[in-house]
C-alpha cells in the first residue's frame, strides 16, 4: 500500500471493501493513510469506485486517481460482478486486489483464489482444496481493458513501475498482488518477502502485464529458477501434501508458465 500510494501521489482516493485492510486502515475514528478513504460494502469495490470517479468528473476533477484496494474474497468471489461491470464499462480507475488466497479477516475460509491443495479452515487437511485457483488476470484480460498486471512486494521497483504506468492510462486498470499472510499460510512473518520472491522464482506467481487484453509481457524473468517445493515447504498450509501432490502442482505450474511464455511478446 505504501509503495502504491508513493507511486500514485497524494491526489488519490481509496476505496476499500470489507477485508483485512478495513482494519489496517484504522477503525473509526482513525485512519492510517494520508489520502481520503471510503470504506464500502464487501461486494461493491468496483461500483463504488466508478461512482466516486463519476462524482469527481462532475466536479471537473480529472486529475485524482481512484484506487480500489480489495481482498481476494471481495474480488474473485463476491465482488466479481461489480468489478466485471465497472471494467467492462472501462471506468477510469485502478482496481488492486491484494490476494492472500483466502478470507483471512473472518478466519481463513477458502476463496476461489485459494490454490489447489491448500489448507484453510473450510478445506481442512482431510479435504484440502480440490479445484485450482481462479485465473483472475485472464478474466480481466478477457474484458480487453487497457491494463492488467501482476505484482509482489518482493520486487518493489516492478510494483511501483506498474502503478505509475496504470496511473498514466485512461480507463480500467487491474493489478493483482500476491500477499503472504503469516497466520493464514502458517508461515514465519519474517519470511513474507522471501516467500513472495520464491513465488516468482518458482513461477507459481509470474510477474507480467497485459495491455488491451492482447499484448502479454513478462516483466521479471526470475534470476534463478527454483522448484515449487521450495515455495511450498515454507508454508504450513501445504504441510500435509505428499511428494506426488507437489509433483502435481509442479506440472500445473510448468504448464501455465509455458502457456504464458508462448503468449508473451519476447
Amino acid at each position: 500500500m505504501r509503495l502504491a500510494l508513493k507511486a500514485l501521489g497524494e491526489k488519490t482516493i481509496l476505496v476499500i471493501p470489507a477485508c483485512c485492510w478495513s482494519i489496517i486502515a484504522g477503525a473509526f475514528p482513525y485512519s492510517s493513510v494520508k489520502v481520503p478513504l471510503m470504506h464500502t460494502a464487501f461486494e461493491t469495490g468496483g461500483s463504488a469506485a466508478a461512482g466516486i470517479k463519476a462524482a469527481l468528473e462532475v466536479q471537473g476533477d480529472t486529475e485524482t486517481t481512484v484506487l480500489t484496494w480489495a481482498g481476494d474474497g471481495g474480488t474473485f468471489d463476491i465482488g466479481l460482478q461489480a468489478l466485471s461491470g465497472a471494467v467492462e464499462r472501462n471506468e477510469d480507475f485502478i482496481y488492486a486486489c491484494y490476494d492472500n488466497e483466502a478470507y483471512m479477516n473472518t478466519g481463513i475460509q477458502r476463496s476461489s483464489a485459494t490454490p489447489w491443495g491448500a489448507w484453510t479452515t473450510t478445506t481442512p487437511v482431510q479435504h484440502p482444496k480440490e479445484t485450482p485457483k481462479k485465473d483472475i488476470v485472464a478474466i480481466m484480460a478477457a474484458h480487453r481493458i487497457p491494463y492488467t498486471a501482476t505484482a509482489t512486494v518482493a520486487y518493489p521497483e516492478d510494483l511501483v513501475r506498474k502503478f505509475q504506468k496504470a496511473k498514466g492510462i485512461r480507463g480500467a486498470k487491474f493489478i493483482h498482488i500476491l500477499s503472504p499472510c503469516p497466520p493464514g499460510w502458517k508461515m514465519e512473518p519474517a519470511y513474507s518477502i522471501r516467500i513472495s520472491r520464491l513465488a516468482v522464482e518458482s513461477k507459481v506467481f509470474p510477474l507480467y502485464e497485459v495491455e488491451n487484453g492482447e499484448k502479454w509481457t513478462i516483466t521479471v524473468w526470475p534470476k534463478r529458477e527454483v522448484p515449487v517445493r521450495e515455495y511450498v515447504k515454507l508454508q504450513g498450509r501445504f504441510s500435509h501434501l505428499t511428494e506426488e501432490d507437489i509433483e502435481f502442482i509442479q506440472e500445473n505450474v510448468d504448464r501455465e508458465w509455458e502457456r504464458l511464455v508462448a503468449r508473451a511478446v519476447q
Binding site: G26, F28, P29
Partner: protein, 604 residues
Amino acid sequence: MTEEIVFKTEADMPYLPMSLGTTLVNKTGSWRYIRPLYVDKTPPCNHDCPAGEDIVGYLALIEEGKYKEGWELIMQENPFPGVCGRVCPHPCESECNRRELGGAIAIHTLERFLADHTASQRPSVQASKRYDAKIAIIGSGPAGLACAYHLALRGYPVTVFEALPVVGGMMRVGIPEYRLPREVLEREIADIEALGVEIETNMRLGDNFKLSDLEDYQAIFIAVGLQKSRKLNVPGEDAEGVIPGLELLKRVNLGEEVQVGPSVAVIGGGNTAVDAARSALRLGSDVREPRSNEVTILYRRSREEMPAIAGEIEEALAEGVKIRYLSAPIELLTENGWVMGLKCVKMELGEPDESGRRRPMPIAGSEYALKADTVIPAIGQEADTSFLETGEQRLIEVRRGHIFIDAAGATTRPGIFAGGDVATPFGTVAHAVGSGKRAALAIDKYLRGEELSGFPPIDEAVHAVPKDMDPAIVRFDDLNPAYFEEIERTEQPQRPIEERVSGFEYFGWAQYGEVNLGFNEEEAQAEAERCFNCGTCNLCDTCLIFCPDVAIARLVAPPYPVPLARLNGAGYEVNYDYCKGCGVCAEECPRYAISIEKEIKWKK
C-alpha cells in the same frame, strides 16, 4: 493527531462516520516479542587478517572512491599496506564469503592498490601526546618497525637497533625485489621515521652492545627474527658452490655480485627455497643470453605439504623452475673441494608427525645421483639468541628455540617484550606486524603501570583502533543470497614470463621488473564492488523498503560521514512504538547487519 479521541456524548460524534485522527494512537509496538537491532558484525576477512585490518571498511571506501581514507584506515593498524598487499599469503581471502559466488575478493591486490594509489601522499596522523619514557627495539623487521610505529603514534620516543646496514629485516634482505620493489618498502619505512622513530643501523646486539647497556630505556622489544640457516647435516656441505638460500637472497638484495652455475639444486619447500630458486633462475639468465641455467627444487614431501605460498610455487613452475617431490639429499658429491652433484634418495610418506604433516621416510635402494654445480640448502631458519648473556638466559626464557612470551608479548623478564619470528610460529610479515603492534599496546600499558591483561591469544589479531562491531563472524549462510549474483574474481595482470626471467634492457642493463602489476582504478572498482560488505550496513535501504509497519527511519543522507561503512547501525532508527517485531528487516538484510533480540517481557 496522535491523541486518543474520546466521544463523551453522542453529540461529540461526527454526523458521518469519518476519521478524525491517525492510527498512530495505536502503539502496535506493544505486540512485539522480538526486537530488531542494528548491529554490525565481523566479516571473516577482518577476523582472519593477522595485522588486524578493517578490510570491509576499506573495501567500502574504495567503492566510494575514497582512496586516501581507505589507505589511512589500514594505516591505523598496519604501516605496511604496500608490502603486505604484495607479499602477504592473504589468509583474509581463504574464508571470504565471496568464494561461493565467483571466487574470494582479491583483498591483497586492493590493499596494494590503496598503497600505490596514494604513493605521493603521506599520512596526516601525528602523535598527540609526548611521553618521556624511552623504548629500545632490537631488529628492524616488520615486527620491530610495527612496534616502533604504534609506540611513536602514541607519543613515545623510540630507537630501533639494527644489525645490518639496511632497514626492513626479511622485507629488505629476504624477499626478492621482483616481488617487493625497494621503493615501496622505503616509502613505508619513511612514513614510520617521519613519526620521529630513530633507526640505528650496524648495531648488533651481542656484538656492538649488550642488553645491560640499555638501562636508559624503560622498555625493550626484541624482534630479531630467524637469521640462522638450518644445516643439512650431510657430507660435503662445506664445499665451494654451496650457499644457503637465505645468504644468497641477502647478498642479491644487498647488491652484491652472486654467481650460480648452469645446474642449480635448491633443497627445501618453504618461501626461502622458492625465492632462492626463482632468484637463481634470474641470476643465470640475461636479456642477451636467456635461460642459460636449469634450476631444480628438491623437496622431501609432496606438493600438498609444501609450506611456501601456493601462488609463489605456481609462479616458480611457470617460470621454468623444476620441482622433484619426495626427494632428499644424502650426500653432496664434490671434486677438488667444489660441489659437482648430489646423491639423493626417494621418499614415501608415512604416519603424520607432530606438525600434522605425513612424515617422509626414505625408500631403501632408491638412491640416485643428480648433477649440480650450485647447491642451495633452504630447509629452514632458526633463532640466534646468542646475544643473551649467561645471566640473562635464566631471566628471559627460551623454549624450543623461540623466546617465550605471554599473550601480551611479555617475556619472563619484566619490561622486556618480544615478538615476530623469534617468538611466534607464524612466519609472515602480517603476523609480525600484528605481533609488534601487540607489544606496542602492551608496552604502553606497562609504562602507565596498568595490568597486562585483556590480550587475545597469540594467534588472534589485536587492534590499535578497535572497530565498533559484534565479534560474531558472518558466514555465507547468514547472508541473503537473493541480493547477490555470481561475478568472477578480477585477477591482477602479470609481467610476461620471458621478461620476468631474462629481464628487459634498460640503458644497457638487464632489469627484472616486478612480477605482479596490480590493479588500475577500473579493476579496483570492479573488484571492490563484488564485496558483500558482510555484517556491515552500507545503507542499501532494503530494511526500510520492506518494513511493513513503516517503523524504520533513515538518519543520514548523502554526503555521508566518513567512513560510511563504520556507522554501525547509526544510519537508521527503529521506532519501537510501532515495530511489531515481524523480523522482515533482519531476514531481508542482504548482509546480516540487523540482529534479533528477544523482548525481556516475554522471558518468563
